[in-house]
């Protein structure tokens, strides 16, 4: 019964990855069909000797950290605020969560407009809002100037906006899954509210936090649409490997594109494979 699935995924996931990997070892630097010769890992060597690729990797690293930290913080705060049940909870929950339903392209179109770098009199977007509210110190050039951190944090901002609600939902489910007896017992022992969270509730949530980390991490590593929509495809400051691969395709350099894609896959695999192994092993124990 599983055979069709195994065959399909065998080809379309593993077979095609092997195909990409194979291409990445050749000198197929053109769209022309025909034989290509193997050059070993030369394409990878070139990539890692290239400023542009290293820049895209660094951008990716910073983006991932900014995105994960931002999303976890907002998600956790919202979950904490809602966890004990407040009137109107379902309204808050729904509104916090709804950006999740929107495509990255749509949100990129909107945020690209909000993150306009003009300031002062000419300010547009969020800067204009800060101008109106007299919060001049908040105005900034977003992704167009400044350090790698401010640049990639600006790109992470819309992603945080989209996914914090999701993380909130995860944590909320986690809180609600904790048996009420645990809280009661802690209270009876005279634990303070802070200690209750610190020593009783948070440890219960750590598996969820781990899942959230993996989910967010692999989403961030694959991020493409949002950057494409906000900054356009060829912008050095915000280029990540997924975007660089699209740029490389412009010159029909199949081998280099494949090599970039395989590096990206390797980065994701480093994150995900231990996690899958851990998951499967845990299940076996149960």
């Amino acid at each position: 019964m599983l055979l069709p699935t195994v065959l399909l995924l065998g080809y379309f996931v593993y077979g095609l990855i092997a195909w990409s990997f194979n291409t990445s070892l050749t000198d197929r630097h053109t769209a022309r069909k025909g034989p290509a010769s193997y050059v070993g890992f030369a394409n990878y060597g070139h990539l890692f000797g290239e400023d542009r690729f290293l820049n895209s990797l660094k951008n990716l690293g910073v983006l991932t950290v900014a995105f994960i930290v931002g999303t976890l913080i907002f998600g956790l705060i919202w979950a904490l605020l809602l966890e004990k049940g407040v009137p109107g909870e379902s309204i808050f929950r729904s509104i916090y969560l709804f950006p999740m339903a929107i495509s990255m392209i749509a949100s990129g179109v909107v945020w690209g407009w909000l993150l306009n770098p003009s300031q002062g009199e000419d300010a547009r977007g969020l800067n204009r809002l800060f101008e109106i509210l007299h919060l001049h110190f908040l105005e900034n050039p977003w992704w167009t100037a400044g350090s790698r951190w401010t640049t990639m944090a600006s790109i992470a901002l819309p992603a945080v906006w989209q996914l914090s609600g999701y993380i909130m939902a995860l944590f909320l489910a986690g809180f609600r899954g904790i048996p009420p007896e645990l809280r009661e017992a802690a209270r009876v022992d005279g634990a303070s509210e802070f200690k209750l969270y610190r020593h009783v509730l948070f440890p219960q949530l750590s598996p969820i936090a781990l899942s959230a980390l993996i989910i967010l991490g692999h989403m961030s590593l694959k991020l493409f649409d949002l950057i494409y929509a906000i900054t356009g495809p060829n912008q050095f400051r915000t280029e990540v490997p997924a975007v660089y691969m699209w740029n490389t395709l412009l010159r029909s350099d199949m081998a280099k594109s494949a090599a970039i894609a395989i590096v990206l896959l390797a980065v994701v695999a480093v994150l995900v494979i231990p996690y899958i192994a851990y998951t499967v092993r845990q299940e076996n124990e149960e």
Binding site: T5, L97, I102, A106, V109, R124, V272, A277, E283
Partner: protein, 302 residues
């Protein structure tokens, strides 16, 4: 609890969130009215943060192009107009039709395959089941860039018609892992073993068991995967960019074109962003209860 236990939540997750804390009195306990006010103030502040883009998008979509200047960006429209909506709709309408005719079948087919797989994985402990499971699970995490170029070639070689059919095929295949995962956890946690055992005793085979007994009780699992798949297929841009063209691609491609021109009509772009988001938002509003469950279950997919 781990990856798939987070996903295992499935329908239950929604219920879990909805389950109010057992004791209403918890709030009063140790927390004063002041802390409750602070809590509310914070909640409202964050609500504002989330809704700011919505405000500016909404008002802009009703503005004349002369009114979308920097100075008046946050003001209400001087004159309200539906023109941006008309313009955006004219551009996006054919894309919307294609997206619908793509997302619905893709969601149904991948859900069906997922439910069969999930049932087998959950109930049939054959040797190596874990390896097969891991094998399927990994397919969910791969960056699609790693398979995109050979996939494009494969589809060209198979002579699959470019456009909706290509994307249905792609989303069916790459949707299998997540649907399988959701259903596997659903069957593992929700369907009591006794039901299947009793069916076996009656001499019903795996297929019979599946058709007669499992399918009817899988409704809530299906709602979850259908919503999840519909949303992710609808929102997909990467496959669309690589595998389709402007005249046969889905709405994400249409929006990127509408908003990506040299002379950007901001009002129409914002209306377009809203139009593009409507179907998933409607699904979300109508079936929000399930959506949360779906999100939980789909926890692992990006």
């Amino acid at each position: 609890m781990s990856a798939d236990t987070a996903a295992a939540a499935t329908g239950q997750a929604a219920a879990a969130i909805r389950r109010k804390p057992q004791k209403r009195g918890v709030i009063a306990d140790g927390s004063t009215r002041r802390s409750r006010t602070v809590r509310y103030a914070l909640l409202l502040l964050f609500l504002l943060f989330v809704l700011i883009p919505v405000y500016v998008v909404l008002i802009t979509s009703f503005k004349t192009s002369a009114d979308t200047t920097a100075a008046s960006q946050w003001n209400l429209p001087k004159t309200w107009t539906l023109d941006p909506w008309r313009k955006a709709w004219d551009v996006l309408q054919p894309y919307m039709v294609r997206s619908l005719s793509l997302a619905i079948p893709a969601a149904i087919i991948s859900s069906l395959i997922g439910s069969m797989n999930g049932f087998v994985l959950a109930r049939w402990r054959f040797p190596g089941a874990n390896i097969v499971f891991a094998f399927i699970l990994f397919g969910m995490f791969i960056p699609y860039q790693a398979i995109m170029l050979p996939l494009r070639t494969t589809f060209t070689n198979l002579d699959v018609t470019r456009g909706v059919p290509t994307l249905i095929l792609a989303h069916c295949i790459y949707g299998i892992p997540i649907c399988t995962l959701i259903f596997r956890n659903y069957y593992a946690t929700i369907v009591p073993n006794e039901i299947i055992e009793s069916a076996r005793v009656d001499g019903a085979g795996l297929v019979q068991t599946y058709l007669r007994i499992i399918l009817p009780i899988s409704i809530s699992g299906f709602v979850v995967t259908l919503i999840w798949q519909f949303t992710s297929v609808w929102n997909d841009f990467l496959f669309a960019l690589f595998l389709t063209q402007q005249n046969n691609g889905p709405v994400t491609l249409g929006l990127a074109a509408l908003a990506g021109g040299q002379k950007v009509d901001y009002a129409a772009s914002m209306a377009g962003a809203l139009i593009t988001s409507f179907p998933t938002l409607i699904v979300y509003i109508l079936l929000g209860r399930w959506f949360i469950g779906g999100l939980m279950a789909g926890a692992l997919k990006g």
